[in-house]
């Protein structure tokens, strides 16, 4: 949803205050991804030793992941990449590894996510016309 649509979906009373900082604060946080390389230690930390060990063993044993296992062993597996994230989702969805669910995939993927508030200036530009008319 575009920011303007999100602003228009806010309560009328809030918009009527014409306070662009309040409006920006009321909008959902923006999620962006940042390059984040992880290794086996991180998997053990996030999933716990039992499930972490299982996932590491699964990656090591599956020929499909024969190159991924080196990245993981060296701490170079970038979980911000679409392909890696899709791989985690596929493992969870395919029930190919006992006990590894979507929640576990999400717990790993979130390590690469950064949340930030909507910039007030972005909101201001959408809410005010050039000649100073309130638009929303």
């Amino acid at each position: 949803m575009a920011i303007l649509d999100e602003i228009l979906a806010l309560p009328t009373e809030l918009r009527a205050e014409q306070d662009t900082q309040k409006i920006a604060d009321a909008l959902p946080l923006r999620i962006t991804r940042e390059k984040t390389e992880i290794g086996k230690g991180t998997l053990l930390e996030v999933l716990g030793q039992d499930l972490g060990n299982l996932l590491c063993d699964f990656v090591d044993a599956d020929a499909e992941f024969r190159h991924v296992k080196h990245l993981l062993a060296n701490g170079w597996l970038d979980i911000s990449l679409d392909s890696v994230r899709a791989g985690l989702d596929a493992i969870a969805a395919g029930n190919v590894m006992a006990g590894f669910a979507q929640a576990h995939a999400d717990a790993i993927k979130v390590l690469a996510e950064r949340s930030s508030p909507v910039d007030e200036f972005e909101v201001r530009k959408l809410c005010w016309s050039d000649d100073g008319q309130w638009l929303v």
Binding site: Q18, T20, R124, K125, W128, D130, D131, G132
Partner: protein, 130 residues
């Protein structure tokens, strides 16, 4: 000869509406001994503009004051545009030396967009002295 200094108002403190026409003020310094000191101020409001207001200092090489106007045939840029940005409640203040050789002086404010701001331009004129 006694030293005489004169406060001059080029643009009185006032609100400049969003997307308004350029606001200009000018004074004739041909009769002043100089040098003088110009100050300019721009203040954003509780909601900042979406593009900043800017101020430009211009001079005219004329023995009498030309009509107010943008940089061109009569008016030449003396100091390039400055502005306070778009931050909420931002205050921009600038102080410029105006040499005794300057004949006519103009200050031009280009209006912001989105929100009004407050502007002003004043001069301490060295009118005459020993």
């Amino acid at each position: 000869m006694a030293l005489t200094k004169t406060p001059r108002t080029i643009v009185a403190n006032q609100s400049l509406a969003a997307a308004a026409a350029p606001l200009r003020g000018a004074i004739d310094l041909n009769g002043a001994q100089g040098p003088s000191r110009l100050t300019i101020k721009i203040v954003n409001g509780g909601t900042g503009p979406t593009t900043q207001c800017t101020a430009r200092v211009l001079i005219a090489h004329k023995t009498s004051l030309p009509a107010l106007g943008a940089a061109g045939t009569d008016w030449k840029t003396h100091f390039p545009p400055v502005g306070p940005g778009v931050a909420i409640n931002a205050v921009g203040e600038w102080s410029y030396p105006i040499g005794r050789q300057i004949m006519c002086l103009e200050v031009e404010f280009i209006a912001p967009t989105g929100q009004a701001v407050t502007v002003e331009a004043f001069l301490s004129e060295y009118t005459s002295g020993a």
